[in-house]
Each structure stands twice: as structure tokens, then as C-alpha cells.
């Protein structure tokens, strides 16, 4: 590994590698290594290695779209808010800011990073990506990753409200993992829930095997879990060609105290679901798509040909949305 010469007496600090294209962050927590790469070129967290395996297939992105439900189609929501489908697919990373131990540093691209060494460390590191949406008008989303020496990443996502933008179906962060998870465990409500359909969910710790897709006749938004305090994704498969024996690892996403999130953990992105007429047309499951959401639109139910979702369950795109959660590498199970 590239950091074998890291000072052993600085295990309480994060080891930082000021690369030309990425910012490397390394450390260990109770003997367990973690390695993060924050890419300047790709505009996000390109790598998260914990439990001995890679967890990122592509950098996480803000998500703005859900595969249209039958009700979304019926009441014209797709026609009013379809702009967010494109915004969900394509986004520009406009700015990256880095804070070391609370201090903003000059952006460390070459040659600025020539002043660093192979012995850099910090007790806290924050990297903030600012994205610009392709909506008209455009707005911004700031995604900040703040790490402490134990490797826990505090993620904060801030959507800047903008007048003139249509209502959002969802706002969250989408994590694309390289392989299908074995399953996930979470503390929250049972079953598939939405803001306007969660009274029947019972609170508790629930374990889900595999990555079930709710088999609605026409594939659509599914698998949301409201009011979640944490979710742990379990994997045993990797794409690493060196892997000989299967090893199990899990990654935990923990809500801020008193601010539960919603999540869905599926083998498909919204656009993959959106493009199928039938379940059997969905691609073969290959990856894990975890969306940790700060705002979710209700599904509605009055009818499927015009009635809107009740006003309390809309997401006003003119208002800011700020939420956060922690990504916590866990030990092998």
C-alpha cells in the first residue's frame, strides 16, 4: 500500500495525501483500515474502502428524481417536474473547497500541493463539493464530507431553494456500490413507506435479505423507508480481481440525532426503473443503489388520473433543504 511509511505514532490522526487529482484520506479505527479518495476530476468521493472492500462504484451524487409512479404519471407530475429527471442524470461540479482542522486551505492542485509531504495528517478534514443543476433556472447543491480521525464521515447536503423551479419528487444522495448487497438492516419503520403512507409501519430493527424490488406491474419508485435512524448495508462480493475468498463487510449510514432520514436500497437507479415497462425488462441486478434522502414526496392515492398528492407531502423547490448523516465504516462481521 502507498502509505506504509506513515508515522505509526499518529494513528489518532487522519493521514492525508495531497494528490494531483484526488485527495487521499487514510487511517484506521480500532485496527481497521479505511481509505477514502475524494476526486477533483470526478467531482465527488471516488473511493471508500472499508472492511477491506471498495464501496463506491461512481462518486455519490445528489438525486432529484424518482421513477414515476402511476399516480405521478396520472396527475401530470412528470410533465410539471420532468426537468428534475435531467438534473438527476447530469450535474456539474462547480467548486471544491477543502478545510483542514477547520481552516480552509488553498486548493491543493499542482503546483500548490508541492508544498506538502508524505507525512501529512490532520485530526479533522472537510471537503465541500458545490454542484450546479442543469435546471432552468439553475440552482446549487453543496455536499460536504467531514471526517474525524475514526474515519466517520459526516455528510451534509444543502439544496438551495430557487423560485421558479417545479416541485421535487425527492432530494437525497445516491450511492452506487460496485456489487449487489447481500441485504441490509435498518432501524425505522417496517415495510415500504412514504410520508403519506407510513402510519402502518412499525418501528424497530428490520433486516432485509437481498435487494428486493417491489414488483409493481410497471416498474416505478419503490422501496422507500421513512423515519430511519440508521441503515447498514451488507456485502460480500467485490469487483477486485484479487479477491479469493468471500469476505463480509458492512457500511453504516447513521442519521443525525433527532433527524431521521429516508432511504431506499435497490439494485437500480431511478432512470433504470423509469425505462422498463415490465419487471422482466429491468437489467440484471449488478450493483447496489442506496439513496439517503432528506426529502421525499408522498405517493398520493385519491385517484390515479389527476388528483394531486396532498399539499403537506409536496417538496417545494423554492425552499432550502438541509440534512445530514454519517457514514461509518464498520468492522468485519
Amino acid at each position: 500500500m502507498e502509505n506504509t511509511d506513515r508515522k505509526s505514532d499518529r494513528q489518532d490522526l487522519l493521514q492525508i495525501v495531497y494528490g494531483d487529482v484526488t485527495l487521499g484520506v487514510h487511517g484506521n479505527c480500532e485496527g481497521e483500515e479505511f481509505h477514502y479518495l475524494f476526486s477533483y476530476a470526478a467531482g465527488g468521493m471516488e473511493s471508500l474502502v472499508s472492511g477491506g472492500m471498495e464501496w463506491m462504484y461512481r462518486p455519490p451524487r445528489p438525486c432529484f428524481w424518482r421513477a414515476a409512479t402511476d399516480n405521478d404519471r396520472g396527475n401530470g407530475f412528470t410533465l410539471k417536474s420532468g426537468m428534475w429527471l435531467a438534473a438527476d442524470q447530469f450535474i456539474r461540479c462547480a467548486k471544491i473547497d477543502i478545510f483542514v482542522d477547520g481552516e480552509k486551505i488553498p486548493f491543493p492542485s499542482a503546483p500548490e500541493n508541492n508544498r506538502y509531504t508524505d507525512q501529512e495528517a490532520a485530526s479533522e478534514l472537510e471537503i465541500v463539493y458545490t454542484y450546479e443543476t442543469i435546471t432552468v433556472p439553475s440552482t446549487q447543491v453543496e455536499v460536504s464530507y467531514k471526517m474525524n480521525s475514526h474515519g466517520a464521515i459526516q455528510v451534509k447536503a444543502h439544496y438551495y431553494g430557487k423560485e421558479g423551479l417545479p416541485e421535487l419528487p425527492v432530494f437525497g444522495m445516491r450511492f452506487l456500490m460496485p456489487t449487489c448487497a447481500d441485504g441490509f438492516v435498518y432501524e425505522g419503520l417496517s415495510g415500504e413507506t412514504y410520508p403519506d403512507r407510513k402510519a402502518g409501519g412499525s418501528h424497530g430493527v428490520h433486516e432485509v435479505q437481498g435487494l428486493p424490488v417491489t414488483p409493481y406491474l410497471v416498474p416505478q419508485e419503490c422501496g422507500m423507508h421513512m423515519d430511519t435512524s440508521w441503515v447498514e448495508v451488507r456485502r460480500s462480493r467485490t469487483l477486485d480481481n484479487r479477491s479469493v475468498s468471500r469476505q463480509k463487510a458492512s457500511l453504516r449510514f447513521q442519521a443525525e440525532e433527532d433527524s431521521p432520514f429516508a432511504f431506499s436500497c435497490l439494485p437500480y437507479t431511478a432512470s433504470e426503473l423509469e425505462n422498463a415497462f415490465h419487471q422482466e425488462e429491468l437489467p440484471l441486478p449488478r450493483r447496489t443503489v442506496l439513496c439517503i434522502c432528506g426529502a421525499v414526496r408522498g405517493v398520493g392515492g385519491i385517484d390515479s388520473w389527476g388528483a394531486d398528492v396532498e399539499p403537506a407531502y409536496h417538496i417545494d423547490a423554492g425552499q432550502d433543504i438541509v440534512y445530514g448523516f454519517h457514514v461509518i465504516p464498520c468492522r468485519d462481521r
Partner: protein, 657 residues
């Protein structure tokens, strides 16, 4: 009203011809004539089972019944003009016929295209049609169905010998469900004609029956004028899709039973009954009625002599008998009593026994609130189509029982039989489990007045058209006669989305005159308020947003309010149920509703690309126009697994009991 009588005449004339022994020939033009809908059919009657003795009743091995289900000979024709006209003859060579299972849908057997469509009539864009007499069309629909280029025909033949228990007795045949029009022959003789796909059609076969080598021939037409009345939002099928059974009648036979249990406000019960008994020539004897509670204790014994007055069928009545305190039939507390009717001949030999499980309940509107046994009724209901992903609407006992388990474990207390009568065992299951029913007749005509979401009734049927009145009333009567003894039936429903006019007004009046123990429901009057005082005991709507319900209930409401359809559970839906459930707390006159609907209607087929068995919906069979996945609105998937939304239903229906 006098106009109606003239049109009643035509229907009666055909029937009278028959009764006089003028064995007429089948007339293909009946397909085009809304005034011909049953020819030589036996009158509708109660759905009681009958046995020769108690032993057979207990074991269920009924020697009087012979199932004709199974493999039949079959020929498919694209239209009536190309059908094999002589196929019913005994000397007809049917050696090149295919084989088909009875019951099943002809489309699922692979002969005709599977087609799903909602409100549009299924010929939309392919054939221009207006219902006979709906406009000033002078040809009155001549040839509309009998000469259509596309109007498939299934010609069925079945050979059978009589089983021992049927020999020497009067025998009738019961087709429990045939879509959509049917001609029947036995041994080369024309037996009769029937429409109304979802109720039993019965014919007396006695005059033509042999011990061995009988040839039954059934010609089923996909469409007739009945198609205008059966525009349900579902897959459009045809064929013999429910059981076919021969029944032998003992020398004396209960043709019809109308038990009228009454639950009085003081908790006591009484029972009266009306019966029709048919007899073979020269028979006489007596009838014994008894009522037993669940412990087998007899609460009532009553005898009525049956004189030999040589009439084929006689009417008998048991006047009101007071029973003292009874345990009511109630929601989820389905207390039933067993009524036995035993017929004895002059020598005192038991000839026939009938048992029926009846219940004592009282549904009424007091101060504009529906009350069951004195308590406010809350309908935590669901609309249920009969459905199987494999067999379409051709379902068996297994599916019914599974449906009932799902209903019970999710606290659903009411089912609307949308939009046709279900198979008889379903009503018994509801009696036994305490699930109440809105028993809907087979009527839906939304394609005739609802155009792209707008109300446009210029050619609505039945409307106020006298020529369509009897066909509709027949459906109402049959639904009533068949299910009148079921305690679970709290509401009669005139049908669905058929607008409102004089015909449905007459249907409402007929039911009110006949049965004062139940309420009449019809939603369509909401679309035509001029009938609101003469149609429907309840204000019923579908998919009304909570604010509209509030608006009705805040402005001097005339009737209690229910939603015959709400919470449209298409795909990922059923959000916002709370807003409806809260209305139950706010308004006594808001009494709940029926979720749309119970099960996704989709068909299991083999995917040509992956080889997997997959679920397909409208438009997946090259069927056009279609409403695609619009039939996937269930709270369970087509394979009967519960949708995620079910936990919401279970929660609210459990909370607001």
C-alpha cells in the same frame, strides 16, 4: 311507465311461445335485440343446496348433482356468419373439433385475442356502434352483432350419460357463468338462450334427456346487446368460465327459499319464510321447517302440508314465528343458525332436505346514519374482482379462501362485488366470517356516457330507454333472488357507472318494494341529480377528495355518505388514507368506503425473450386500444402477495373498527 309495458310484452311473447310447447328454433337476431335476453331460462331462485337425505348433506356427496366440467369438443369461429350452424345436431360430424377445458376463457385457451380496456367499449375505433333505440336509429341495431365481421363464437359440444342419482328424475342444467350470450341445445333440440354472464343460467332438460348418449351443444357469442351492459373495466373474455352442473330434482323439490329472519330492537328474533315447491305429478306430503342454533338446539319446528293440487309449482309461506332472544349476526361476529327444510311424501318418506345458514341482523338508516344491529356501521371495505393470474376470472374455492384469509388478517370488514355477482361460495364465506357485502348486479355502461373523463350521455344505456329496461331489471332481480338469504348482504347495488335514468329508478323501486331488510346502493345518481330522491339510500361517490366529502356533509346532507370506491391503489399508491379515516371521527354520516381494489388484474404468461413466467397487462397482447396497466390497482399483487401498502390498510382498518 305504460311504454315499458309494451316492451315487456315482446319478451313475454317469446317465452309464452315456448311454454305452449312450440319448440322454437334459436334465432341469431336475438344477439341484436336488447329485448331478448332470456329464453326458456328457469326463473332465478335462491342459491340453496338440496339433497336426498341428511347423510349426503353431511358428506357433501350429492347424488343429485353431476358435474359436466372437463374436456368438451370445441370449434372457434371469427363471427356468427361463419359459425357451424348445425353443430348441435346429433348426426353432425365433429371429428375435426378441438378440445377445450370447461370452465375456462376462450382467449386464455388461445383462440381469441386477450384484450384489456377500461371505459371504452372494446370495439372502440374498430366498429361504429350505437345501442339500439338510443338514438333515432330506425334499424334498431339489426345485424349489429349477428352480422359483425368480428364477433367470435365458441361452439361447444359435450356428450354425457346420466349418473345413477339423476335417472328418472326431473333434471335441469346450471351454467354458473357464461360470457356473454349463449344458445343451448340438447340432443338436437333447442333448449334456450341466456345473457347476463355472471349469474347462473338454468334450463329444464327433462323433455329431451336420455339415460345415455346425450349431446349437449352450447353456442357462446362474445358479444350481443349485453355487451353494452357489461362494459366492466377488466380483461374482456368470453366462453363458459364457471361450473356447468346437472341437477336432478327429487319428486318434491324446494325451488326457492326466502327466509326472512328479523332481529328486533329488544334483541329477540323472529323468522318467516316464503317457499316455492315443485312436485312431480301426483305427489303430495308435507314440509317441515326447523331452526337450530350452533349447539344443535331446535328453536323452531313448523309444518306445512303440501296438497296434491296437480300444479307443478306451489307457493307456501311460514308466517312470522317468534324465537325469543337470538344472537345477532354481526361484523366479524358471524353468528349463524341452521334452517332445515325437509320435504316428506304422503307416506312420510323424506324426499328432499335443504339446509341454509341464516343470520339475524338489522340494517337500517336512523337519523341519516346507517346502523347495523343498532350500531353505526363503519365500512372498512374493498372492491373485489374474481381474479387469478393464471385463469383470469375462472377461479376456484382455493382463491376464494385465500382472499378471505387476506381480508380477515387485514381487518377488512366489507366487500363490494365489483361489478357483477361473484360465485355463490363467496357469499357463504362472507356469511361465515362476518364480512359484509355490497352485492352488485352485473351492470356497467360507462362507455356510453363517460367520454375521456367528461359526462356525455347522448347515447347512454340503459338511461330511460324502455327497450333496455327489462334486460336491466332481469339482472337486478336475478342478483336479488340468488343471494336474498345471505346475512352478509347488507346492500344491493344496482351496478356501476351506468349514469341514471328511468330504468335504474325502476330497478331501485323494484328492490325497495321487494326487500325492506336491506339498503339499496347506486353511485351513478351523483352524475344525474334529478334522480337523487328515487335512486339509492346512500350518497355514494367514488374517488371524492376529502374536501368534497366534507362539503357534502356540511351542507344539509340528505343521505349517509359512503365511498363505493376510494384509495386507488394503482402501482405505488395508497398515500393519504389518514385524511379519509379522520372523517369517520368528524362526521357520523361519513361511514367509510371500499378501497379500489383487491387484486391486480394481470396475466401470467411466458416471456418470449427470457423464458420466464411474467405478469402482463393491457397492450401486451397487441390489443388496442388498451388502458394498459390500469387494471393493476390491487392491495395485493396478481400472485396474491400483499403489496407494501397493505400494512397501511391493516393499521387504519384495525384502528377504526
Amino acid at each position: 311507465m305504460c311504454l315499458f309495458q309494451k316492451h315487456m310484452y315482446r319478451h313475454k311473447k317469446i317465452q309464452q311461445n315456448f311454454n305452449r310447447g312450440n319448440f322454437m328454433n334459436a334465432d341469431i337476431n336475438w344477439l341484436d335485440d336488447p329485448e331478448v335476453f332470456r329464453v326458456n331460462q328457469l326463473p332465478a331462485h335462491s342459491d340453496h343446496e338440496f339433497y336426498v337425505n341428511m347423510e349426503e348433506m353431511k358428506t357433501g356427496n350429492n347424488s343429485l348433482a353431476q358435474s359436466l366440467n372437463g374436456i368438451w369438443q370445441f370449434w372457434y369461429s371469427e363471427n356468427a356468419m361463419s359459425r357451424p350452424v348445425d353443430f348441435f345436431r346429433t348426426d353432425y360430424d365433429a371429428s375435426d373439433y378441438d378440445e377445450i377445458s370447461v370452465p375456462c376463457h376462450i382467449e386464455i385457451a388461445g383462440y381469441d385475442k386477450i384484450h384489456y380496456i377500461n371505459t371504452m367499449y372494446p370495439w372502440e375505433g374498430h366498429i361504429y356502434r350505437r345501442p339500439a333505440y338510443s338514438l333515432d336509429n330506425s334499424d334498431a341495431g339489426k345485424g349489429m352483432f349477428s352480422e359483425a365481421g368480428y364477433n367470435p363464437v365458441g361452439s361447444y359440444r359435450k356428450q354425457f350419460d346420466l349418473e345413477e342419482g339423476l335417472l328418472g328424475k326431473r333434471v335441469h342444467i346450471c351454467f354458473e357463468g357464461v360470457e356473454q350470450a349463449m344458445y343451448v341445445w340438447l340432443n338436437g333440440f333447442f333448449v334456450g338462450y341466456a345473457e347476463d354472464s355472471f349469474t347462473p343460467s338454468e334450463f329444464d332438460l327433462t323433455p329431451w334427456l336420455r339415460e345415455k348418449g346425450n349431446l349437449l351443444a352450447v353456442e357462446v357469442h362474445k358479444r350481443s346487446t349485453a355487451a353494452f351492459l357489461e362494459d366492466q373495466d377488466f380483461f374482456r373474455f368470453f366462453g363458459i368460465f364457471r361450473n356447468v352442473t346437472l341437477y336432478a330434482k327429487p319428486g318434491m323439490h324446494v325451488e326457492d327459499l326466502w327466509a326472512k329472519p328479523k332481529l328486533h330492537p329488544d334483541g329477540s328474533g323472529s323468522l318467516s319464510a316464503e317457499l316455492k315447491i315443485s312436485m312431480e305429478q301426483g305427489m303430495s306430503g308435507r314440509m317441515e321447517l326447523s331452526l337450530e342454533d350452533q349447539e344443535g338446539k331446535q328453536l323452531l319446528g313448523h309444518e306445512i302440508p303440501i296438497p296434491d293440487d296437480s300444479s307443478y309449482t306451489g307457493s307456501y309461506a311460514m308466517e312470522k314465528q317468534d324465537l325469543g332472544p337470538v344472537i345477532p349476526w354481526d361484523i366479524f361476529q358471524p353468528h349463524l343458525y341452521s334452517l332445515y327444510i325437509r320435504l316428506y311424501d304422503a307416506e312420510g318418506q323424506l324426499v328432499e332436505v335443504v339446509s341454509y345458514r341464516i343470520g339475524f341482523c338489522r340494517v337500517e338508516i336512523v337519523d341519516k346514519v346507517i346502523r347495523l344491529n343498532g350500531k353505526r356501521l363503519i365500512l372498512n371495505g374493498v372492491n373485489r374482482h374474481e381474479w387469478s393470474a393464471e385463469h383470469g376470472r375462472c377461479i376456484g374455492r382455493e382463491e376464494m379462501e385465500e382472499d378471505m384469509q387476506i381480508i380477515l388478517r387485514n381487518h377488512i370488514n366489507a366487500v363490494r362485488t365489483c361489478h357483477y355477482p361473484d360465485q355463490v361460495p363467496w357469499y357463504r364465506l362472507c356469511d361465515e366470517t362476518g364480512v359484509c357485502l355490497m352485492a352488485e348486479a352485473n351492470l356497467e355502461t360507462h362507455g356510453s356516457w363517460q367520454k375521456m373523463g367528461e359526462v356525455e350521455p347522448s347515447w347512454n344505456v340503459p338511461g330511460s330507454l324502455p327497450q333496455w329496461k327489462e334486460a336491466v331489471l332481469d339482472r337486478i332481480r336475478t342478483n336479488f333472488e340468488l343471494f336474498k338469504n345471505h346475512p352478509s348482504v347488507l346492500f344491493w347495488s344496482l351496478g356501476n357507472e351506468s349514469y341514471a335514468g328511468d330504468v335504474l329508478e325502476a330497478a331501485n323501486a323494484w328492490l325497495k318494494a321487494k326487500d325492506d331488510s336491506r339498503l339499496v346502493h347506486y353511485e351513478g345518481v351523483f352524475r344525474n341529480r334529478s334522480y337523487e330522491d328515487t335512486i339509492s339510500d346512500v350518497e355514494s361517490r367514488m374517488y371524492a377528495p376529502p374536501a368534497d366529502i366534507r362539503a357534502y356533509l356540511e351542507h344539509d346532507p340528505k343521505k349517509p355518505f359512503i365511498l363505493c370506491e376510494y384509495m386507488h391503489d394503482m402501482g405505488n399508491s395508497l398515500g393519504g388514507m389518514d385524511s379519509y379515516m379522520k372523517l369517520l371521527e368528524e362526521y357520523e354520516m361519513y361511514q367509510g368506503g371500499f378501497i379500489w381494489d383487491f387484486i391486480d388484474q394481470a396475466l401470467l404468461v411466458k416471456d418470449g425473450v427470457t423464458g420466464r413466467m411474467v405478469l402482463r397487462y393491457g397492450g401486451d397482447f397487441d390489443d388496442r386500444p388498451s388502458d394498459y396497466a390500469f387494471s393493476g390497482d390491487g392491495i395485493i399483487f396478481a400472485d396474491r402477495t400483499e403489496k407494501p401498502a397493505m400494512q397501511e390498510v391493516r393499521y387504519y382498518y384495525g384502528k377504526y373498527r
